[in-house]
């Protein structure tokens, strides 16, 4: 059995604190979301997975960007509803420092995922996930599950189940805006209204 290092254990505890309250409720029909003020955010666990071209991709490579990390699968109907939104987000916000990263949890692997990517004209990077990455993010038993990660690599919000498109847009725009506020020399860190309070919806 692998021993957890102190750092890895800390990360697991931090992510568990964000995710476990959500996952424990995932049997209900309600969508679950949680947002966190900047000071309370935990680091998104890093991982390395392959994309459709076979390239290794590390989540930490995206540091400095706002990332929508979406766990999904080809067989997941609600995921299919969200994907066109993510295609729009990638087009709309990419130039501002935003990326969508899809992590497919399909057990059949690229055989199932590549035709889906082509059919749905997905314009963002898709990685093939596995159970170990799923476990880093609380198990990801239900799909879609999405994490909005800020430019510092910290989890700003979590959505378990189909979310509202406008909710995503507000969160992304606010996090992208936070960068502009900082770089303009403002001493006031812009904390989006949606992320203040941290209560699960």
């Amino acid at each position: 059995m692998t021993r957890l290092t102190g750092r890895r254990f800390s990360v697991l505890i931090a992510v568990a604190a964000v995710i476990i309250p959500l996952c424990s409720c995932s049997g209900s029909s309600a969508t679950r979301a949680a947002s966190h003020p900047a000071k309370e955010r935990k680091s998104a666990p890093d991982f390395t997975l392959r994309d459709a071209n076979g390239s290794l991709v590390k989540l930490s490579d995206y540091r400095g960007k706002v990332v929508l990390l979406n766990f999904w699968a080809t067989w997941c109907g609600p995921c299919t509803l969200e994907i066109p939104w993510f295609i729009d987000f990638e087009q709309q916000f990419k130039s501002k420092g935003f990326e969508v990263v899809g992590v497919s949890m399909d057990e059949e692997g690229w055989t199932a995922v590549k035709p889906y990517i082509a059919q749905h004209k997905m314009n963002y990077r898709v990685l093939l996930g596995d159970d170990s990455v799923g476990e880093l993010y609380g198990g990801v038993d239900s799909l879609p599950t999405s994490f909005i990660i800020d430019r510092d690599g910290k989890i700003a919000s979590v959505h378990v189940g189909l979310a509202e498109k406008n909710e995503y847009i507000d969160e992304i725009e606010n996090l992208l805006g936070a960068k502009q506020a900082r770089s303009s020399g403002s001493s006031v860190r812009h904390v989006p209204a949606a992320l203040v309070g941290g209560a699960a919806k």
């Binding site: 029909s29 067989w75 509803l81 949890m105 799909l143």
Partner: protein, 141 residues
């Protein structure tokens, strides 16, 4: 009577009611009916989903002394999730299998083992595909 055993770590959105012993004569046929129950507010994909990417419900008898003549699934419901029309099963439904016993069967008991693979969703989220093991006691007369 045997209870189905869950093979995969998953949240059981689907259960199979206890299976009764099947009595059959050498060379004869008999029908076994599985009573399947889907948790309220959830659905599982039908055996013939419209979308090529969707995982169908499928009962497969993998081990045992009987031959499978046919497996009959109920008529599916159509539901709309977003823009998608899905063919699904909800609530309680039956899956029938007709078995044939070999002429060479001798009186006694045996066991058929099957797997019921499914994938459950509600309108908001889906759960990873799961497989239930079905154990059907057989009595040869």
């Amino acid at each position: 009577m045997c209870l189905p055993l869950s093979l995969a770590a998953q949240q059981n959105k689907l259960t199979v009611e206890p299976v009764k012993e099947l009595t059959i004569k050498p060379g004869g046929t008999a029908v076994e009916t599985l009573r399947v129950v889907v948790e309220p507010s959830f659905h599982v994909n039908s055996d013939k989903p419209k979308d090529e990417f969707v995982i169908p419900l499928k009962l497969t008898w993998i081990r045992g002394p009987l031959e499978t003549e046919y497996t009959h699934y109920p008529a599916a419901e159509e539901i709309k999730v977003g823009d998608q029309m899905l063919t699904v099963f909800t609530g309680a439904f039956n899956i029938e299998t007709e078995f044939k016993a070999p002429e060479s069967s001798t009186p006694g008991t045996s066991m058929m083992t099957g797997k019921l693979r499914y994938q459950a969703c509600n309108n908001q989220m889906c759960f990873r595909p799961a497989t239930l093991e079905i154990r059907l006691p057989v009595l040869f007369q």
